[in-house]
């Protein structure tokens, strides 16, 4: 089976989807001729022509708005927001339009589209190339939110998202585009090729939206993670030698609540991790659901490991990023309580 990093896998997902469905069109800032600043759309213009893969003006609101019009026409736009930090100018169109059109028309119109965007920290990108705004989308009814953590899932989830009848916010953890970063920034980065999930089928397959993956089984506690933090969590658990079950959520909305409940009821302890700031982050929803549904199984408070409630500070990357140390402290705390 071909070995791909996450960028190649995402590129392959685009190609597969565009080959199968002539209504799939792809655009965004710098995504056309050049193939995107992270090269995810590389070669699409050459293969599918300028009418299906092109550059867009720097107007994220306009990119989303035109996608709304295209979806209304019957196309399936897959649009790229260059960095998640730049999604806000398109926020009104996403929240007020994309998310609500199926509902407000009682299904007369639907909005099948994928809004892809690299997100997250760990690249010394400073305040505006590091953000994790997922909870600003999980709060919006009508949107699905998907975050892959491996090349295999990235391709399968992106194809599933493109084929999904509903709009999907697809955040790509840019820190792990090229390798499964485990938070040890001082060590050399492993390439994806060393990771089993870099084996990616050439053709069409999907990873279902709404299904989490138990990436490590265990009995002592449950770790809920997504994106880059899956790898950080796994490493911390291994290093700390804790019999933890690690769940890669993969989809935040709709959440795989069964997988979560099942695990926490088994382990009785839970740790929730994400890069986004703590207050009103998606972790709050996870903790709340766990305490609502597993209250009488909990042996200790559910802990959160998150980014701090500050903007993302350039030089303090490794003091901000929830890395191995913070993970281990939290693991110990949940186990001790």
């Amino acid at each position: 089976m071909p070995v791909m990093n996450m960028i190649q896998a995402l590129n392959s997902a685009h190609r597969v989807a565009m080959e199968r469905d002539p209504d799939v069109v792809v655009y965004g800032e710098d995504t056309g001729y050049f193939g995107g600043v992270f090269r995810v759309t590389e070669g699409l213009q050459k293969q599918f022509g300028k009418e299906r893969s092109f550059d867009a003006p720097i107007n994220e609101g306009g990119i989303v708005a035109t996608a709304v019009g295209m979806a209304a026409y019957g196309l399936k736009p897959v649009i790229e927001i260059q960095f998640a930090d730049y999604i806000y100018p398109g926020y009104d169109q996403i929240v007020s339009e994309v998310a609500k059109i199926r509902y407000r028309t009682a299904g007369e119109w639907s909005m099948p589209m994928v809004i892809r965007s690299p997100y997250g920290g760990g690249i010394f990108g400073g305040q505006t190339h590091s953000q994790s705004p997922e909870s600003l989308f999980t709060h919006i009814a009508g949107l699905k939110t998907v975050i892959p953590s491996t090349p295999h899932d990235a391709k399968g989830l992106l194809i599933a998202a493109i084929e999904d009848p509903d709009p999907v916010i697809f955040f790509e953890p840019k820190r792990i585009y090229n390798g499964p970063f485990d938070g040890h920034h001082d060590k050399p980065v492993k390439p994806w090729s060393k990771h089993p999930a870099s084996e990616v089928p050439e053709g069409h397959y999907t990873v279902p939206i709404g299904k989490a993956a138990v990436v490590r089984e265990g009995n002592a506690l449950t770790v809920l993670a997504y994106g880059t933090m899956v790898h950080v969590a796994l490493a911390a658990v291994e290093e700390r030698g804790i019999d933890a079950e690690v769940i890669d959520l993969r989809t935040l909305v709709p959440l795989d609540i069964e997988a979560i409940e099942q695990s926490v009821k088994k382990t009785g302890r839970c740790l929730v991790v994400h890069e986004a700031p703590r207050t009103s982050g998606f972790g709050a929803e996870l903790v709340t659901l766990v305490q609502e549904r597993c209250f009488y199984h909990l042996e200790a408070p559910v802990e959160r490991v998150t980014g701090w409630d500050t903007p993302y500070p350039h030089a303090y990357e490794w003091a901000y990023f929830p890395g191995p140390k913070r993970m281990k402290t939290a693991l110990e705390k949940v186990m001790a309580d």
């Binding site: 069109v25 009418e51 299906r52 867009a56 003006p57 107007n59 609101g61 306009g62 708005a65 035109t66 996608a67 709304v68 019009g69 295209m70 209304a72 026409y73 019957g74 196309l75 100018p89 009104d92 169109q93 007020s96 339009e97 059109i101 199926r102 509902y103 407000r104 028309t105 009682a106 299904g107 007369e108 119109w109 639907s110 009814a141 009508g142 699905k144 009848p165 509903d166 709404g210 909305v253 709709p254 959440l255 609540i257």
Partner: protein
């Protein structure tokens, strides 16, 4: 030290903030005699293939066809047959009566909200007449005329207004936020401006697919200030999108006049210049001028010549909505004083001048429309009025958030059904 405490320079003039003010406020006697209105027929009509630069003068003037005697004059006369004109006239009468009845229904407590298009009927109705039946509109809340002109059933509209059992939108939308795909009418958004670049996206899709249908984007004078206006114009310009982009300048945005959107310094049609697309400024109360302008723009779009921006100059003759009382910010007599008149009266006069109409036939049409509206209302009200709604089918509230109901909504639905409402 705060910036503003830095030493001032007495040798420099003091800057001052300009805040635009409309010509008349409550208490003033409106007098529009200084308004420059070009003669009907005086504005040239360029070729479809004229460069946008050649069309620049058209953005600063007013395309008019109907003269003071009700004659159609000049190069923009679309030379429509009398049947077409009578259909437009009837549709305008119908919309006005519809608006009046529904306004009253709101006042009677039968629904929560209503918005009229009184004085602006010509724009949407005539545009519908000038478009192909399968061209697609992205309207605002003041283009109910598009639906009526395309024969959308009044009962359907009313059921939406009452959010009742006949409402195909299942009571989910504020009254008048219609949606109908079959009538080429995209779902109206409560958020101003959003539909304008969406129209451009639809037009781009039509171009991508090698289709021949075009899109029409609508926006109000006030809403042109939104970023979405710029998005629509930019994407239309860049991709040469086959779209007709309409600004309905009725001179008011709730209590703010068009100067607060920039109209003191330039026309809205002139905005087109900076995007290299043609801009037309058109007397929005002159059915013939509206028809001709839309046709010109639509033909350009269909010929792969790209988008056109049209400013329809009109006057919002009544309040912004049922929530608004305009006498608080403009003279109550202003509508009457507005010199470009009433589109219905002007078309009526034209048809009479043509010998194709008379007062009796007009009155007959009026009565017929009135009866039509009343009977539709009766039928609609059989399906309920708003105060009775929202009790049944509570489970429907959880549909259509997604194609399939996810677990959280399924649980919430069970809870809502078990609980019942207050």
């Amino acid at each position: 030290m705060r910036d503003k405490e830095q030493p001032k320079r007495p040798n420099r003039p003091k800057l001052s903030l300009h805040v635009p003010e409309p010509s008349f406020r409550p208490g003033d006697t409106p007098d529009f005699s200084s308004l420059e209105i070009p003669d009907a027929g005086s504005v040239p009509k360029p070729d479809l293939t004229a460069s946008p630069a050649e069309t620049e003068p058209l953005a600063k003037t007013l395309v008019r066809v109907l003269d003071d005697d009700g004659k159609a004059v000049g190069p923009w006369d679309p030379k429509l047959d009398a049947d077409t004109l009578r259909k437009i006239l009837r549709d305008m009468v119908l919309v006005r009566i519809f608006d009046d009845r529904m306004y009253r229904a709101q006042r009677q407590g039968k629904t929560s909200f209503y918005m009229k298009c009184t004085g602006e009927e010509a724009i949407a109705i005539t545009t519908a007449a000038a478009l192909d039946r399968d061209d697609m509109n992205f309207p605002t809340y003041r283009q109910q005329g598009l639906l009526i002109a395309r024969g959308y059933p009044l009962v359907e509209m009313m059921c939406q207004i009452y959010s009742n059992k006949g409402d195909k939108l299942q009571g989910r939308q504020l009254p008048i936020m219609y949606s109908d795909k079959a009538h080429g009418f995209f779902t109206i958004s409560g958020n101003l401006g959003t539909q304008f670049p969406q129209a451009v996206g639809w037009a781009m899709a039509s171009a991508i697919k090698g289709d021949s249908r075009i899109a029409v984007g609508w926006i109000g004078d006030g809403a042109t200030a939104e970023g979405d206006f710029h998005a629509g114009m930019t994407f239309a310009s860049v991709y040469n999108a086959p779209a007709v982009l309409c600004v309905v300048n009725n001179q008011w945005a709730i209590s703010s006049f068009s100067g607060i959107a920039g109209a003191e310094k330039a026309t809205f049609a002139q905005r087109a210049t900076g995007y290299g697309i043609p801009g037309l400024r058109v007397d929005g109360n002159d059915v013939l001028a509206v028809y001709s302008a839309v046709r010109w723009a639509a033909d350009r779009a269909r010929s792969n010549l790209g988008a056109t921006l049209i400013e329809f100059f009109t006057y919002r003759a009544e309040g912004h909505s049922t929530s608004d009382d305009p006498s608080g910010y403009r003279p109550a007599s202003e509508a009457k004083a507005w010199p470009l008149g009433d589109p219905i009266e002007r078309l009526k006069a034209h048809l009479i001048a043509l010998g194709e109409w008379d007062d009796e036939r007009h009155e007959a049409v009026r009565a017929e429309c009135d009866a039509q509206v009343r009977s539709a209302q009766k039928e609609a009200e059989k399906l309920g009025i708003l105060p009775e709604q929202g009790r049944d089918n509570v489970e429907s509230m959880f549909d259509d958030v997604y194609a399939e109901v996810p677990w959280n909504l399924a649980e919430q639905r069970d809870q809502a059904v078990a609980e019942g409402r207050d």
